[in-house]
Each structure stands twice: as C-alpha cells, then as structure tokens.
Amino acid sequence: MFVILTYDVGEKRVNKVRKHLKKYLIWTQNSVFEGEITDGKLKKCLSELNHILNREEDSLYVYEVKSPKFITKTIYGQEKNIDELFL
C-alpha cells in the first residue's frame, strides 16, 4: 500500500523521528514522509517509533491508500528532488 505520514513532535525528538523514518520511507518535506510499504513493515516501523515518541506531547498521523494508483500528486513551487529511481 501507499502511506503518507505526518508528525508533530517535540524539538528534542524531531531528528530522531526523521532518522528512523528514513529507513522505511521517502522524506518529502519537513515532518512529512511518503512511500510504498507492506502492512507488516509499517507495523514494524511504527512499533519502533513508539519508543521514540512522547505520547503526552507528540502526534503522528498515518494516511493509508490501498494502491498508489489512487493518488495524484501535484507540486507547486519548489520540488524537493526525490526522484524515486535515479540518484
């Protein structure tokens, strides 16, 4: 499936969260990640993240779409260069 993941976390934890998510997804914008991922991998990723987050202060939103086909992405202004295939 395709997920978009956004988060709002205390300053101390921002870097930790971003570093962790980079193992699984593509960093699109500050505090936003996206990418294709299997259900099991996503659960693994979130359960590891659980140890980093502070439940009293932080929030994490996960939007899941069954197939990336159902997503259109239009970019206005500056696109951060994340070509999926070529580096």
Binding site: K19, H20, K22, K23, Y24, L25, I26, W27, G35, E36, I37, T38, K41, K44, C45, N81, I82, E84, L85, F86, L87
Partner: protein
C-alpha cells in the same frame, strides 16, 4: 515493495543513521530506505567503505556495478541468511546426472523459444519464413541428447530471431548479427544493456531463495559468472527485455541520439539508460493474474516463482515445468 535504485551521479555511498545515504558531488544528501531496498545499481563514480559493505547482509541488499559504458562488471553478493545444504546437494545432483541436467537445459530453451515465437507472432508480416525456420529447429530440441547440441540449436534459433528484428524494429535500427564483446551497433547495445539488467534481477531473486547461483544446467557452471542466473534469464530475456526494446524504439522514445560510440564500443548514453530503465522497471512491476495462485503476480515475482519451481523439482516434489506466458 522492495525497490531497486540506480545511481548515476558521482559521489559516496555510506551507512548513516542506520540507513543508506548517497551523497553526491554537490554534497546533496539522499537517504535510501534500507528496509525497502532490494538492490542498488551503480553507474556513476562512487566511493564506498567496509562499514557499508558489512551493513548490507543484515538487510540483504545487493550491489551491482557497471562500467563507464554502462555494461555490467560485477556484483557484491552479501552473505545469505537462508541457506539449505540439503537443497544445494540436490541441486548439484541434478547437474551431476547428465540426463537430469539435459532435462532442465531443454526446459529453459523450450520456454525461451516459446517467448521468442510469442514476440515474433505479434509482428507476423514479413517474418513468416523466419518463424517457420525456428519452428523446425524447435523440433530438434526434443531429440537432442547433448548440451552442446542444444546450445547449437539455440544459437541458430537466436540468429533467426535477431534477423527478424530488422522487420520488427523501425527503419533506422538494424542488426546484422549479435555482437557482445563489445556491442558495435545500437541494437546490440540495447540487447547487451537489457540482458545485464535481467541477469542482475534474476540473481537478486535467486538470492532470496535457497538455490545456489553457481550450479547451472544449460550454461556450464563457471568461475566467472553466477551461471544459474544465465539459465533462468533465458526464459525472461525475450519476455521482458526484448519487449521493452521493441516498445522503446517503435515509439521513438529511444532514438539514435541516445547512443555513443567510443573505442569501437557502441553504448547507451545516460539519457538512453534512464529511458530504458524507466520502461524496464514499469514492465517488471506489471502484474498478471496467476491461474494457480489466484493472485496478481508481477513479472519480477514470476522470476521468484521460477526459482521456487526449481527447488520443488530438485527436492523431488514436483517436476519442473518452465513458465510459458499464456497472456
């Protein structure tokens, strides 16, 4: 979900923050999600160190290297996690027993010819004669009782097949004969480039199974190549690579501008390589509904299923029947 990444820029690959980073010569840092990476293809001038190489086996990420001309030069094949001595012994027995070996060699060629004819029949005009010649040669496969005989039959079939490219492809692309070392014309360059991508794709599927990549049947097990990859690639080259070549040329996506000639070697330039890879990746992720699995299966997954069928054949579970595209 496991993706391949193709690195064209110059720079450095490293392990950082528990994932893989590529840092290009302008110091742009790109993270590559290690949990989701199948293999990396390195076309640029890239530095890497042991810290990275020691990190990759944990996630089973394979590195493939290509030379300046974009042709394959080698693979870093990390230590496997899932080995089965039992399976490897059986796999070797099937090479050791000549009749068993012949059976598998014939199976691979039979499937390759099925896919070759499938490509040709889509472009029936003008190549009827070549099709008939191949169909006649095909009858000899069954009767052959030596591997070198089979190789000869296969060579002749390929010769007719490549001749047919002159009708299948647009006018400005022609091929006289297959020339590998090195490719001297654009069509040979495309075939070589595509075949090496196929070889690495098959290798990375073998890597995920218990098969030993060095024990092969049609190709002589050698010291230079993972020859089982070459065997299985026979099935998929006409099915995947050739259809990508026809599509790219006949739709004018790749033109003569996308080739370079240097030192008597013809090769795809960076633009051309990227166009090829884009289309090839699209093909690999295209899905077909599998008749027995009752699930959609991507072309890439079909390669893995072929590995599974071979394992089942080796362990005496189910006689191997190669894939013959029915769609």
């Amino acid at each position: 979900m496991d993706r391949d990444y193709y690195i064209f820029s110059n720079g450095r690959l490293k392990r950082k923050d528990n994932t893989i980073y590529f840092i290009d010569s302008q110091d742009n840092k790109n993270s590559i999600p290690v949990e989701q990476t199948n293999s990396l293809h390195i076309f640029g001038e890239v530095d890497l160190n042991t810290k990275l190489l020691n990190y990759l086996p944990k996630y089973g990420v394979i590195l493939n290297f290509y030379n300046y001309y974009g042709y394959y030069s080698g693979t870093y094949y990390p230590r496997k996690k899932n080995v089965s001595g039992f399976t490897v012994v059986k796999q070797a027995l099937h090479n050791f027993d000549y009749n068993k070996r012949l059976f598998l060699a014939k199976s691979f060629i039979d499937s390759a010819v099925h896919h070759i004819l499938r490509n040709m029949r889509r472009h029936k005009e003008d190549i009827k004669e070549l099709i008939e010649k191949i169909e006649l040669e095909r009858l000899n496969i069954e009767r052959a009782n030596r591997i070198d005989e089979l190789m000869g039959i296969e060579g002749r079939i390929r010769k007719y097949y490549y001749q047919s490219f002159n009708w299948i492809l647009r006018d400005d692309f022609t091929i006289e004969r297959r020339e590998k070392r090195p490719p001297k014309d654009p069509v040979n360059a495309l075939i070589s480039f595509g075949n090496s991508l196929m070889y690495t794709a098959v290798l990375s599927e073998i890597y995920k199974t218990q098969l030993d990549p060095t024990i092969s049947y049609l190709h002589e097990p050698s010291t230079k190549r993972f020859s089982l990859s070459l065997d299985i690639a026979e099935i998929f080259k006409p099915l995947i690579v050739d259809s990508v070549i026809f599509y790219l040329i006949n739709n004018r996506i790749i033109t003569l501008e996308n080739f370079d000639d240097q030192d008597g070697i013809c090769f795809l330039n960076e633009q051309g390589r990227k166009k090829f890879i884009r289309e090839y990746e699209k093909k690999m992720s295209t899905t077909i509904k599998h008749r027995k699995l009752k699930r959609k299966v991507s072309y890439k997954m079909f390669i893995r299923l072929e590995c599974y069928k071979l394992i089942k054949h080796f362990i005496g579970d189910e006689v191997y029947k190669p894939l013959k595209a029915w769609w």
